[in-house]
Symmetry: C2
Subunit: 363 residues, 2 copies
């Protein structure tokens, strides 16, 4: 292997893939990145066996070849170098990287030992505009569970419903659903939320579309010069749609910034009570107030103006409420509920595809 | 106690003092801040018994009084509030904080129980321009030891030498000394480096001078509206001056940015060898090169142009070299040494008061 690449392109590719390489893995080669010449490009790849990311960059190739080198050292090293053309040359499993000022040798492991994710055969392929896809996925992914007791809840579920591509995540205490637009293809897969987080990091503002291909085992996302393959989660996703209320006895319409601010302040007083805050919507007062009581520290009531229909109160986990509010880009949101026991819903007229549901706490 | 303060002033004062309050302390009141009316001002104070910080802010006082409240909650709460006038009122050791939108009650502990640092009697007082003082202290403080085996090395030593106020710190592997200007007063005290770090955080760009008063037990720094008192470290500071070489067989003059960059890159390859890098100054090559060998990972040589007199090589801890170079604000520095065993010195013609010494490693 002998080639030239720019420091900028190589540093960018390494920053995309290197985080997947894990030095704590039992298989030492998984802490390496694979560099490989492919059709006048250099591919830079890493995998942890659950997910694999490959970034292709332009390269002036004098001699084909492949090698794996320690991901962390390679990334730190290349990102520390000034913007310049780098010469990469392989001899005896040692990768020599040079420019005018720097001469480095990084010891590698032969590329043949690097595990390859199986390819997808007879998969379903569809496309989505990159911006819309990224926004929808980021609005739901944080609602997935990080507790391993129910593996299906660690996933983000993509499926078609009434001709629409839908993405949803829930940890059983809250649920977020968004729509990706019309789809004629039969979409149905459950990918790990951690892989979805990696995917979000890959999609840039300059990317135009995301091409998705899945079979029963794996899903492949193609975004610009980057491919991400993830192993799917097995199991049936819960029939969540029946949980979403269609009518509400109380609806409070208010500025998102106000609601977020009074929730954050009250949350400070809710540390002793596992984040529990009580939200009261008052039609006559034209306000929503949030109360938190910390028996040791004190108590807090914070109020913000709102247009209220109906009225009442409900007790929620303030962290869930803060995360839900942060997911909206709208300036104005609606907070809807039916008494103290049924799920609350956050929605916005300006983001009609997105719905966020939070289960109340018993107060 | 009943008074009005602006959210901005109170938030600023809390951010200055609250970090000293420690919730892990065995004395619960030390995790609180003391609020106390004093001559038409509100004083906000915290202490960990080794250091005490007091910040005074303007206040419209209707009724005198004092209370202590949990520092972390109070700071997080006030900093979350919008910029507004806050009403503070005390009743039954409960502090009520209100404005139009927020009504909070924070449970306090009576102020009488709050420990007071003893005052300084018959101390020596001197002044220093705030900007110069901050720069000099920040150039030396990081060289102090964080290992508790020799308490005097955990300190920053202020003293007078040949009519100059001098500040110095060393961990016995490196030493940094800076001058604070002429002083007729007999300055001689050793303060904890941790307190010096707190002091650095307090000095703002808008502050004009630092007034220093010390006796045998304590030192008081007055900066703008803030007072910081620290307990001194007992013991004799080592006679460090004899360690500083006066002549060098090799001097390399080069751009600080270049030296820093090649050191950082080489340091990546020096992780296996506890940061050890070998620096070579070559007169004919008009360059300084740094070499690091990682037996497992590979090796690296990086080079930068320099004006060299003499020549040779020396092995250093790359972390010490990086921290020393970062301490200089000069664009051009001199790296001076006498063979492989004697201390190296970093200095700059544009910062003649500052000298930084690093002991070599045996290579």
């Amino acid at each position: 292997m002998k080639l030239q690449v720019t420091q900028q392109n190589l540093a960018k590719a390494l920053s995309t893939v290197a985080r997947v390489a894990n030095s704590r893995n039992t298989l030492p080669i998984l802490s390496n990145v694979l560099l490989k010449t492919e059709n006048n490009r250099l591919s830079i790849a890493a995998t942890n066996l659950d997910i694999g990311i490959t970034h292709f960059i332009g390269s002036k190739i004098s001699k084909e070849g492949a090698i794996t080198v320690p991901a962390r050292l390679m990334q730190d090293f290349v990102s520390s170098l000034p913007d310049s053309v780098l010469n990469l040359e392989l001899s005896d499993n040692k990768l020599h990287i040079t420019n005018d000022q720097y001469q480095s040798t990084i010891n590698g492991i032969v590329a043949d030992d690097f595990p390859v994710m199986p390819s997808i055969k007879d998969g379903v392929t569809w496309k989505s505009p990159a911006g819309d896809f990224k926004k929808a996925l980021s609005q739901v992914v944080f609602a997935a569970s990080s507790d391993d007791s129910r593996p299906v809840l660690n996933g983000v579920y993509f499926h078609t419903s009434a001709g629409q591509a839908v993405v949803v995540a829930t940890d059983s205490y809250r649920l977020a659903e968004d729509k990706l637009g019309k789809s004629a293809k039969p979409i149905n897969f459950l990918m790990p939320a951690t892989a979805a987080q990696d995917l979000l990091r890959i999609i840039n503002d300059t990317d135009k579309e995301v091409v998705v291909t899945h079979d029963d085992q794996q899903v492949l996302f193609q975004v610009g010069d980057v491919n991400l393959v993830a192993r799917l989660i097995e199991g049936n996703y819960p029939d969540y749609r029946k949980l979403i209320p269609s009518k509400f006895s109380t609806v409070a319409k208010m500025a998102k910034a106000d609601f977020l601010n009074i929730t954050k302040v009250s949350a400070l007083f809710a540390r002793e009570s596992a984040g529990s805050v009580t939200i009261k919507a008052d039609k006559d007062d034209k306000a929503v107030s949030i109360n938190a009581i910390a028996s040791q520290l004190g108590e807090n009531t914070a109020k913000a103006g709102a247009k209220v229909s109906g009225g009442g109160e409900v007790t929620l986990n303030s962290r869930y409420l803060i995360e839900a509010l942060n997911a909206f880009s709208a300036n104005e949101i609606e907070f809807c509920f039916n008494g103290k026991l049924e799920p609350c819903v956050l929605r916005s007229a300006s983001e009609p595809n997105y719905i966020h549901l939070i289960m109340p706490l018993r107060s």
